[in-house]
């Protein structure tokens, strides 16, 4: 993070513009849209885990919550702007409460993992039991395992008839991701971000410096959840239905794998990991010779064994070495599982 901010931002903008222009020629925008959404979801965990040292086993809970809050409020409101905002705010609020409970309770890393996992499981089980007609919020039936279909999807703000879908939805999602990346960049360069990284490295020292570790972790956790909630709301618009599977543990595990494969402690890694693995899964889904969870598992094992720091850090050090700056020290050493 010692590069000048202007260069960092310019790099992000140029690279995103290129990708947004080129990628639709290679992959259909329908598929691309969901890859972008997963990229955002990957980044949400990459932020809190890679930079804050908070390993959350329940990032899917926030993704699902964002999707459900969007769907339920879209059914009730019939216009998409407020539901999008609500999806982000409600998810962030929920995470802030959960985070405050965990961090002020000074739970160890393992308990943090267990609690986030259990919360995901509870949401999954609960939503699954809401098939009966008595489970309604306003005009929205929760629908249990059938999920909620037929809600108002994304529209031009203020004009419910002007739907944003297809190619347009892709561009909206892509721009949203770019904005999120820029915000994350700004956050990490701010004092708050640098302090968060300090907390990842040594909570005791940061507390002895006078920083309220619990408060800061709670805020970072909520920011990560807000991003996951936004991704969830966009996903709801893409899928045009929300189902309890959004909360599944499998989904949570996948997000963790994206981060490991892409590279923790970078902004790009979790995005690349998410989009890459999701695309791989999509390709594998089109054949039936090999079970695709097997392949995913294999990819993870290979990465952990041969590229333990993940794809993006590995490519970055190769790049630095090849342009002759290999003598510079690595920006950080990531002790993935030590910090929770």
């Amino acid at each position: 993070m010692r590069r000048p901010a202007a260069r960092d931002v310019a790099g992000i903008l140029v690279a995103s513009a290129l990708l947004i222009a080129v990628m639709p020629m290679l992959i259909g925008t329908y598929t691309l849209t969901v890859l972008v959404i997963y990229g955002m979801l990957g980044l949400s965990l990459g932020l809190i885990w890679g930079f804050g040292g908070i390993l959350c086993f329940g990032q899917a809970a926030f993704f699902g919550l964002g999707a459900y809050v969007y769907a339920i409020s879209a059914v009730n409101i019939g216009e998409s702007t407020l539901p999008m905002i609500l999806a982000v705010l409600v998810t962030a609020g929920f995470a802030a409460l959960l985070g405050a409970m965990m961090f002020y309770g000074r739970l160890g890393d393992v308990y943090l993992g267990v609690i986030t996992l259990v919360v995901t499981l509870i949401l999954f089980k609960f939503i699954n039991t809401t098939a009966g007609p008595q489970y309604v919020i306003g005009k929205a039936r929760l629908g249990g395992f059938n999920g909620i279909p037929g809600f108002q999807t994304l529209n031009v703000p203020g004009d419910p008839e002007a739907y944003i879908w297809g190619d347009q939805l892709f561009y909206v999602c892509a721009v949203a991701l770019v904005i999120v990346v820029l915000l994350v960049t700004w956050l990490l360069r701010s004092s708050f971000g640098r302090i968060a990284v300090g907390i990842r490295e040594n909570e005791t020292r940061m507390a002895l410096m006078g920083y309220d570790v619990a408060a800061r972790k709670t805020v970072l956790f909520a920011v990560g959840a807000a991003i996951a909630g936004l991704a969830g709301a966009l996903f709801a618009n893409w899928a045009e239905i929300v189902t309890p599977n959004l909360f599944s543990l499998g989904q949570s595990a996948e997000i963790i794998i994206w981060c490991i494969v892409g590279g923790l402690g970078t902004r790009l890694g979790p995005i690349v990991g998410a989009a890459g693995l999701a695309y791989l899964k999509f390709m594998l889904g089109q054949q039936s010779m090999i079970d695709n969870t097997l392949i995913m598992g294999l990819v993870l094992v290979l990465f952990v064994l041969f590229l333990p720091r993940g794809l993006v850090p590995a490519v970055a050090s190769l790049w630095r070495a090849s342009v002759g700056r290999g003598t510079r020290r690595r920006p950080s050493r990531h002790r993935r599982l030590r910090h929770g």
């Binding site: 040594n202 410096m209 020290r329």
Partner: protein, 238 residues
């Protein structure tokens, strides 16, 4: 009489059957330099931990500038202006020397001021050439120096140093002594050390801990020549 900045009354810390701190009454005046000595396991580090909130005492009270801080969290105590160098290095190993010191400064100063104070501290500690190096890659003495720097940069009025000279070269110790004297212009400093040479060079009043309790508290010369102290401590070392 000078203001008392740190006072403990009946401070006791038990770990199961072990009483690591035993009814410690301790008083420190503003800008005083005090040394704590005592054999291994005497409870010196435990005393520091109870004072800074890293441990919650089983019994007794801690006061800072007249305010009771017993049971406070470490960050609350630190926020008052209390700095500690722990016995085992407690630094941010994956970050640079500069970042370590900057983070400590940033807690009490705005970004510009923090930056200026960080640069100043790096100069004073002669860390300039390695300012951008990752701390984990540095030698033990350099890391000790950085930890001292990150304590000093926050401009505390109470500083606790747990074995700051351990594993340091003579040159490092000299530099550190200068910094400690610098700190006493604004802060009361308590130093735990085993190095008698160092104690003699820096101390006036020495408090001797033995089996969790205060055995003796007096001028360094009288402590060093005391029969009991020699028996429990110095005899073993010499």
């Amino acid at each position: 009489m000078a203001e008392t900045v740190l006072e403990t009354a009946g401070l006791t810390m038990r770990f199961g059957g072990v009483t690591a701190s035993d009814n410690v009454d301790f008083k420190l005046r503003t800008r005083e330099l005090r040394c704590l000595i005592g054999p291994n396991g005497a409870g010196k580090s435990t005393f520091f931990k109870c004072v800074t909130g890293l441990l919650t005492p089983s019994d007794g009270h801690v006061f800072m500038r007249g305010q009771e801080v017993t049971g406070w969290h470490p960050h609350q105590v630190a926020a008052l202006g209390v700095g500690i160098k722990t016995q085992t290095p407690n630094v941010l190993d994956a970050l640079s020397v500069h970042e370590n010191i900057w983070l400590a400064a940033r807690r009490f100063f705005d970004p510009a001021e923090a930056g200026a104070r960080t640069d100043e501290m790096i100069d004073r500690l002669a860390l300039g050439p390695i300012a951008r190096a990752e701390l984990g890659q540095l030698a033990h003495g350099e890391r000790q120096r950085v930890e001292l720097g990150l304590v000093a940069v926050a401009d505390p009025w109470l500083v606790l140093l747990d074995e700051p000279a351990a594993g340091m070269s003579a040159e490092d110790v000299e530099r550190m002594t200068a910094i400690i004297h610098d700190m006493t212009r604004n802060a009361a400093v308590v130093i735990v050390e085993h190095d008698m040479q160092f104690i003699r060079s820096i101390a006036e009043t020495v408090t001797v801990f033995h089996q969790g309790a205060v055995l003796m508290e007096d001028h360094v010369d009288r402590v060093m020549s005391d029969e009991t102290v020699r028996r429990v401590y110095l005899g073993k070392k010499a």
